[in-house]
Symmetry: C2
Subunit: 413 residues, 2 copies
């Protein structure tokens, strides 16, 4: 078994080669990997079944995340394929200017380097991470959940085979071999080798990584998302958006947890909105005014405004004004994604500036906050940090600009 520090050094060395990989090599890797997974799907499913058998005491939700079905594998293969036509971000000149004295100053995209990605039971993540990291010229050290041990191992073997077959360093993607819990904390202090850590999973994992890391962390803290129905909202659109944003996949971070309704539109929208929510078996925690529209609503407590239900539950508050909506969002939003429904252009323009979230949506469902939906060809995570970038993190966001300065004997005067 390699030690933590050995794996970090290997990754750093591999990153010097990976940085210079051609677009063709990177696309070959993606195609070979897709073929290998396709060809070996029975073997992969057998390993996944072994994981499921060895972890019979996990919750049904975890079991669902851990399971790799044939359809799930087809989805993974298709996700890899969708990265092939995406433009290679490495080497792109973001901007350049030439000084009066002829010195040319350019900002050019380069890979970040070595990215550590820590995730929990879903075994598709190891493939997503590998595909996104390699296409963007980065090297990855991954640590998956122990429940997915056999699934991750077999997928990693195909990833490494695909790297080798495309002339890229096989160590471009490694799994942390040291399975001790402390190993991860030993890894994320090695700032001479590791350039970025992306933890995906439970709050405790993310907090622990943030606390111990000496390396930059891009994290998605939590998803307490709002939809605000303005007094100038189109009622049909508002209902469609709220139902979609709450019920299409309530366990995801981009689902709405709180709906704010302007008092002037409440009479027109609340009865129908509540009816539709109850039809979808959504439990409603409402403020006093909301509760007047239905006795099936439970009176919301202060805690409800601050809770990420991740379930078929929603809190609803009727507000007196746009300003009250903004104040509520400023106070409670996790700044991941908040939306407004309004036909008033001035109001929607203000909302874009007033709401300080990674993704602000106008007349669109919060659930659209997603790398694939945004045309990024996938995402390695959603950032709620306020440096580097905010929102779904795609290929381009896995690079960083460096300066290239070209002169003809220029010195500093």
């Amino acid at each position: 078994m390699k030690t933590v520090i050995e794996q970090a050094q290997i990754a750093k060395n591999a990153s010097h080669l990976m940085r210079k990989a051609t677009t063709e090599q990177k696309n070959t890797f993606l195609k070979v990997l897709a073929t290998l997974i396709e060809k070996n799907k029975d073997l992969i499913i057998a390993k996944n079944t072994k994981d499921l058998n060895e972890n019979q005491n996990i919750t049904p939700a975890m079991k669902k995340r851990l399971t790799l079905s044939e359809a799930g594998l087809a989805g993974i293969v298709s996700a890899i394929g969708s990265l092939v036509p995406m433009p290679d971000p490495v080497g792109v000149v973001v901007n350049e200017h030439i000084r009066e004295d002829g010195l040319k100053i350019s900002r050019v995209r380069a890979p970040i380097g070595v990215i550590v990605c820590i995730f929990e039971s879903r075994p598709n993540v190891i493939v997503d991470v590998a595909a996104l990291c390699i296409k963007s010229g980065n090297v990855a050290i991954v640590r998956g959940g122990k429940e997915a041990f056999h699934s991750n191992n077999i997928l990693l073997s195909y990833i490494q085979q695909a790297l080798q077959e495309s002339g890229l360093p096989q160590d471009g993607v490694q799994q942390l071999e040291d399975r001790r819990h402390e190993a991860i904390n030993e890894l994320i202090v090695l700032d001479q080798y590791i350039d970025l850590v992306i933890p995906r999973g439970r709050k405790e994992l993310i907090d622990s990584v943030t606390e111990h890391s000496k390396v930059p962390v891009i994290k998605h803290a939590r998803g307490l998302c709002h939809a605000y129905i303005d007094r100038d909202a189109d009622i049909e659109k508002a209902i469609d958006i709220v139902i979609n944003a709450k019920t299409s996949n309530p366990a995801t971070c981009n689902s709405v947890e709180t709906v704010l309704v302007h008092k002037d539109i409440a009479d027109s929208i609340m009865p129908k909105l509540l009816e539709k929510l109850f039809e979808k078996n959504v439990e409603v925690m409402g403020d006093e005014r909301t509760c007047t529209y239905s006795n099936k609503c439970r009176l919301a407590t202060e805690d409800d405004w601050d809770e990420e239900y991740l379930d078929l539950k929603v809190s609803i508050k009727i507000v007196d004004s746009y300003d009250e909506a903004i104040a509520h969002i400023s106070k409670y939003s996790s700044s991941l994604t908040d939306s407004i429904v309004s036909e008033n252009n001035e109001t929607t323009k203000n909302f874009q500036d007033d709401v300080d979230s990674a993704v602000v949506l106008v007349n669109a469902s919060n659930r659209l906050t997603d790398g694939e939906q945004f045309g990024l060809g996938g995402e390695i995570g959603i950032s709620t940090c306020r440096i580097h970038m905010r929102g779904p993190m795609g290929l381009e966001d896995m690079t960083v600009t460096k300066y290239v300065v070209v002169g003809d004997g220029h010195i500093r005067k």
Copy 2:
């Protein structure tokens, strides 16, 4: 005295207003501040003299950094003025596309939020930080060196007056009032209020901040910079660049510490290069081959390749090949700024890819690595991180992109 947490909360609240400041307000702030400093220069110099008197036991170098002369103040005023015509980065649409179904997805620049800047004795930094933070829509909490106590206080009073006179929140720039050493560590764990920490100063300060912070840190680790004289170099340009990069201000991080010379050009360049270096009183630590050109060279030890002299000292190594130069730079460079001198376009193109530094220069002095030289109108620091951005950090780099998504009732299917 306000507590650390109170100041952090005040800053976060101020950031919601500052985010929406107009370009006009921000430029008014800069102009008012410049006028206030200009008008009160005698008072400022008197406070600075008080600092100098109270700190008589500091080193001559520190004393030089602490001193605010009339010319120094004129420089500060001019630096503030140069930010006025710079474009406001906030609200700039970096890119946008419209999906086939009409959903418009834009990435828009927004301020980072609350930036903590920790710096040592130079009192001009508080003004630089304030000017750059406010023009980019950010809020700052600063902690300056205790030696500059009176200077920073009076400068802060003008900063806050200028904020008020331009209709911006006066708390947009605060000094950390709690002067305890631990106060800074208490501040940089408050990730609900603080968005970024920029430490500028000694390695111990930067290490301590990196270790304790729960907030992203953009730091400039150290400046071990190289100049490589290729076999196809123009000898005159090479000598000019090395002399400039080593001697124009040896105490700065972008000065060259190691010169690598291709063996094929050594006979033509070494005698003259050494002569010029000795003329400028530069001490030379050379490898064996370098020492054959002059008995005034001291034989370099392994430690010399790894040392940031920040002084009139340079290490020189004659290399057998381009690859040996790249391997040396990969091993020892701090990845801040490395340069090549060569007339061979293929070699210089390879160098840009092979050298993984924040700034790579071709036929230009490493000393040009600077926000003002790059046309950024100043810099809040130089980043050797590998996320967010690399190199001199100017106004645009003090923002982050957020997503604005505009639909017409769009939901996720």
